[in-house]
């Protein structure tokens, strides 16, 4: 085991896979320096600022036997490529009757906290979850991001990796040897008895901090990190809620039709889990607004450990 940052884990995952398979290449509007130094400008392409063209080109290259990686960089920029994502990448395998495989990794950074205002502080993964045909991961640790990216690169489908901008410098333990993490397998980040907190990305770490404080109050919190949004590990979430009887969902995105809403539905539509519930589901999300610039406003809009603590206290007092 070594201790490396979330960003280093991403670079390691890509570099190891590129060494393993020469059909993998990387395209982005700024070539990552470490990858460029090792693999050269043919396989690590610096491109014009044309996210739409890059996304489409990845589809065409994938159909021709390659395994492209496209970094949209901030998820903001993926929106200019939406035709290629929604109408082409997500549907092309199904629409053509499964004739060809499209192994593509789309990388993108989500989240706020950088004082860069509305267009550069977004967490729109639920928009993508609504599409059939795209696998999606949202890792919260260096270990998870490395293992999930390696799985994504080896997958024969378009996969979107939402990388949390707030976690880039986060350090964590990563094995020396090759490893992967399967999609659709949630991780229990902390075991507990009284309340389940399903937390996404940066909120996993806020939930861990909240759990320490709540433990001092005698409340035992279980923290579940779904890690992949599509497929979503409904079983793991339901199992935890059946044990604790209480569910808080913490997400940096707004609540409306969000990943948090999907998780709430997966839990409450399951009769066995619903019967085990002692309180209503509680969501700790961003306010449903574009993200403002002024620091105190931005901090007010985003959820954090204090919001989680408040929600857990409220749900505990409910029953």
């Amino acid at each position: 085991m070594r201790t490396i940052t979330y960003l280093d884990a991403i670079t390691e995952a890509i570099a190891e896979e590129m060494r393993r398979d020469e059909k993998i290449f990387h395209m982005s509007t700024e070539a990552p320096p470490k990858l460029l130094a090792e693999f050269g400008p043919e396989r690590v392409r610096q491109t014009p600022i044309t996210e739409s063209a890059l996304t489409g080109m990845a589809i065409g290259a994938a159909a021709s036997g390659y395994r492209p990686i496209v970094d949209w960089r901030l998820v903001t920029f993926s929106f200019v490529a939406m035709d290629q994502i929604v109408n082409q990448a997500a549907k092309i395998h199904y629409m053509f009757g499964g004739q060809a495989k499209f192994p593509i990794l789309f990388r993108t950074t989500v989240g706020g906290g950088t004082r860069r205002a509305a267009q550069h502080s977004q967490s729109p993964y639920s928009m993508f979850m609504n599409l059939a045909g795209l696998k999606q991961v949202l890792p919260s640790t260096p270990f998870d991001v490395k293992g999930l990216l390696k799985t994504a690169i080896r997958d024969n489908n378009p996969v979107v990796a939402f990388e949390s901008g707030r976690l880039g410098s986060l350090k964590g333990q990563v094995p020396d040897e090759d490893f992967t993490i399967p999609f659709g397998k949630a991780d229990v980040k902390r075991e507990g008895r009284d309340v389940t907190v399903v937390a996404l990305a940066w909120l996993v770490h806020e939930a861990l901090a909240a759990a320490d404080i709540l433990e001092d109050e005698g409340v035992s919190v279980e923290i579940i990190d779904p890690r992949s949004l599509v497929p979503m590990d409904a079983d793991a979430i339901r199992t935890s809620v059946r044990k604790t009887g209480r569910l808080v969902i913490a997400d940096e995105a707004g609540p409306t039709a969000g990943a948090s809403a999907e998780i709430a539905a997966l839990v409450t539509e399951d009769a066995g889990t619903f019967k085990a519930m002692k309180a209503a589901v509680s969501r700790v999300c961003a306010l449903q607004v574009p993200i403002p610039y002024a620091p105190h406003l931005e901090d007010h809009v985003f959820p954090n450990r204090h919001g989680i603590i408040k929600a857990v206290r409220a749900i505990m007092s409910e029953g």
Binding site: T50, M57, I59, G60, A63, Y66, N87, F96, G97, Q99
Partner: protein
């Protein structure tokens, strides 16, 4: 810049440059060189496209084919002329008006018709229909329901061909309407910068649904736009099969030798309305339609063949027509004899293994 304005400016001594042109006269000259077999095969393909679509239209109006059908009739010389310049392992991508490109690249008529009929033996197992026929085994990367949707995809196939280094090329078919959309400009810019082996073939049929091209572009020719990306741009008579073929051969040679992309604008016309639906509005002037019917690419090529003594007889033409009609009948019979996809197919192929 309008050519009249340009001529005026030149007359005034102002230096202007118009994009390079291919003279359509080359067509007949070229015809003398092409082998008889190749010529007859191209004629057969054009006729096959036309008969296939006449049948598809009739069966659509009869309710046996669903949704929407866009016919390529009148534009056959473009797909056939371009694909004649390609090898099997070269790749193409198509538009919503895609039957012609499929047939010209060598797609199987039975599987095409079965797809239109929504059957499990169709190219897409009945999940795509007329707008989404693809055959990856012959390098046909799909028809596409989004105007300009395929331009970047085939550019990526061009990048793959460049990586492979085997001299393959990628051909992008698109319409005049798509040349106003972002993917056209983004893709050609990057293909030019990276010298990708892509041939961009604009089928300018003069109308984007019911909007005349002259209402949506300030330049007379789509090919003029090539200048902005530093690549060759040629205007070709898209109803002259051999002229299209000659331009395509030149563009393919240019791409195969590592010189990058070319933009070929084929001026052509669809004989029919935008779609085959019975109430499809068609704002095009009848006189314009009639004038283009006189320039029918199939009639024109037959006349060229006849002028070349011994190229084709009435008997040969009749026999060819009979064979094609039988193939179409067989394709319809194959489609009708095929099963509809089972309900469990609805949840299959969302993801690949």
């Amino acid at each position: 810049m309008n050519r009249l304005v340009m001529d005026f400016l030149r007359g005034m001594g102002v230096h202007c440059i118009l994009v390079e042109k291919i003279c359509t006269v080359h067509g007949e000259e070229r015809g003398m060189e092409a082998s008889r077999d190749l010529q007859l095969n191209m004629l057969r393909q054009m006729k096959t496209i036309r008969r296939f679509e006449e049948r598809a239209s009739a069966d659509f109006l009869a309710g046996d084919i669903y949704g929407i059908v866009h016919c390529y009739i009148g534009e056959e010389a473009v797909a056939v002329g371009v694909c004649a310049a390609l090898e099997k392992n070269d790749k193409i991508i198509s538009t919503h008006r895609g039957h012609g490109h499929c047939i010209a690249k060598g797609a199987d008529l039975n599987r095409m018709m079965a797809e239109l009929y929504g059957r499990e033996t169709g190219y897409c197992k009945g999940k795509g229909g007329s707008m989404h026929i693809a055959d990856f085994d012959i390098g046909m990367l799909g028809a596409n329901g989004i105007v300009a949707g395929g331009i970047s995809i085939i550019t990526g196939a061009g990048l793959a061909a460049q990586f492979d280094g085997m001299g393959q090329v990628a051909v992008c078919f698109f319409g005049d309407g798509a040349s106003n959309a972002g993917p056209f400009h983004e893709s050609i810019n990057i293909a030019a910068q990276w010298k990708l082996p892509v041939i961009y073939v604009c089928e300018n049929n003069l109308w984007a649904v019911n909007v005349p091209t002259s209402d949506s572009m300030a330049v007379a020719d789509v090919a003029e736009r090539a200048k902005g990306y530093g690549i060759p741009g040629w205007v070709v008579d898209g109803n002259d099969l051999l002229a299209v073929c000659a331009a395509a051969e030149e563009a393919v040679a240019h791409a195969r030798s590592g010189n990058g992309p070319t933009l070929i604008e084929c001026k052509t016309y669809r004989h029919r309305a935008h779609t085959e639906r019975a109430d499809q509005p068609d704002d095009r002037p009848q006189a314009e339609i009639d004038a283009w019917l006189q320039k029918d690419p199939i009639d024109r090529f037959v006349a060229q063949l006849r002028k070349q003594q011994g190229q084709i007889s009435d008997e040969e033409l009749a026999a060819m027509d009979d064979e094609i009609l039988k193939q179409i009948e067989d394709a319809v019979a194959f489609a009708k004899a095929s099963a509809f996809p089972p309900l469990e197919a609805a949840i299959q192929d969302v993801f690949a293994d």
